[in-house]
Symmetry: C2
Subunit: 325 residues, 2 copies
């Protein structure tokens, strides 16, 4: 930095172009503790991650500024947390434990370096919550911020729980929050910033990571990450398993906080719960009511057929949570 200009309070912020690709990667990885599964961390051509099980679970998700997040609605740290959370939820939905994450970050050269560093800080924060390491990545210039995350996970000797194993006679249960992100999005869309509980739920989902392996151990026959909305994602389970699923609204938990927010906005809290995306709850099927583990809530049944119904009827409110905007 030029000495004369360095003292001026009117200096423009340091950009990612100023810091450079290698400088930025150095800053966001320096001094971070890796879990024991990270056998070789960032800095070489590739990372090496333990896969003691002899298999590795892997999933990729991409988040785009203006489509999946807005930096006027969320801080960069929130966005970083969310990018990691949505991927680790996919790992949990197979019944696996997240072990490692790789991040591809495309962003404009003029992006404030502090924004990129805050994104990375959020990523580390969420990775640490689940015991996973941030083991590698790439930083490149682009017109718009695009964050691509690949999560790896370990099945710990268990069979993966797919979407295709539900059987007639099973019960359907959920773990984690439903409708909270939709409520938060509705609040932000009206120009409000509170209540912070629902706005915070939209900014950073809280996937029940441990509930995935727990369900697998309990004999779950099918499982899915609820990213597109409960009914839409149960639709994937019904289709892949070739079964019908009926959700009973008297069993679906609708939190009092959502009822209050919906009332204030003239919205329907139950609709948020049934169709709202981006909460990253888990939905699973179990062979009998007694198999549903603690912390999971039974919400319906699996029968022969090929549909998803609510109280025995097609849902009239529409099921789509549209990511492709």
């Amino acid at each position: 930095m030029d000495g004369d200009r360095g003292a001026s309070p009117h200096d423009r912020s340091e950009t990612v172009a100023d810091v450079g690709e290698f400088g930025l990667i150095g800053r966001v990885t320096a001094g971070r503790a890796q879990p024991p599964t990270t056998l070789l961390g960032p800095g070489d051509d590739a990372a090496v991650v333990a896969a003691a099980d002899g298999r590795v679970v892997a999933s990729t998700d991409v988040l785009v500024e203006g489509v999946h997040f807005r930096l006027d609605w969320s801080t960069p740290e929130h966005v970083g947390q969310k990018a990691i959370a949505v991927n680790m939820a996919d790992i949990a939905a197979m019944g696996a434990v997240p072990t490692a994450l790789l991040v591809g970050l495309a962003c404009p050269k003029a992006t404030d370096a502090a924004v990129a560093e805050a994104l990375a800080a959020g990523m580390w924060k969420e990775a640490v919550r689940a015991g996973a390491g941030l083991v590698g990545g790439d930083v490149v210039g682009a017109d718009q911020i695009v964050i691509s995350v690949t999560a790896l996970g370990d099945l710990q000797g268990r069979a993966p729980v797919t979407r295709g194993g539900a059987m007639p006679g099973d019960v359907v249960a959920v773990a984690g929050r439903l409708g909270w992100a939709a409520a938060g999005l509705a609040v932000l869309g009206r120009g409000f910033r509170s209540p912070v509980t629902v706005v915070g739920a939209y900014r950073v989902p809280d996937p029940p990571y441990a509930a995935g392996p727990q369900a697998s151990l309990a004999g779950a026959t099918a499982m899915i990450d609820v990213s597109d909305g409960l009914l839409a994602d149960l639709g994937h389970v019904a289709e892949e398993s070739n079964v019908a699923i009926d959700v009973r609204t008297d069993l679906v938990p609708v939190h009092q906080r959502l009822v209050e927010v919906a009332s204030a906005l003239g919205a329907d809290a139950r609709h948020w719960v049934l169709t709202g995306g981006e909460d990253h709850a888990l939905a699973a099927t179990f062979p009998e009511p007694a198999a549903v583990p603690e912390g999971w809530t039974t919400i319906g049944t699996v029968t022969r057929g090929n549909s998803v119904t609510v109280d025995g009827k097609p849902y009239e409110g529409g099921t789509g949570w549209q990511h492709w905007r």
Copy 2:
């Protein structure tokens, strides 16, 4: 498609928005054969890939339209091939065999669906060349095409070959093409489309995948994927290994084709070979000349110190291949 409009030759092309995320993923994965390492392929929350070694090698690279590729210089199929090749080269550079790939594709909603399908076709083509499977991914809307690829690989029981193991007394050797992509870029930059050998080398690199595990078996002490240019990437080896590397120009192969192209353009073929990026050759160090395997070319020596020199002197031509444009 509307019957009346379907017959018109003036219909706009079908876009990725028309096909939708799920439709597009269905089209590009349907009927594709997966290798035996793909235990669970695309379509669920996550894929499951064999990691018989008990470890998995993983690397992510991001390619951005206008930065890393131009669709007026390369076909979408070329771009797809390149996106996969640059990642699998990173896996080979650890001494591992590529097993699986995950792809995050961000593209404008108005992108011709045929472009997205051709990108995917190129990806499959390159994956099959190395025996790897395309096991998962994500497709989202964005302002610009951004392709993020994560490659996974198997060490087959060997230790990873890092950048940090070179020792004074080692020899330096390379496998694969050097300077060809730079020559192709120079040709395209002048508005020409031939000679096709060098233009093709720029469009789709030809990494020597098998040479990575081969070098590892032969006792390579350090290895790197030459993505930024030979001298720049040997600089990473020198830095991580805390050694000096001297490259001897009388040993570095400069193909006659490059000499001809350079002559026609008034350029320096040796400069392309020493500094040109994007060929994805492999450079490695071996403990003695006799250890250098067939197909590898010895080009220099490792000594005490902390530098990269050419014929004993600092290289005057500049070493940078600038990805961050």
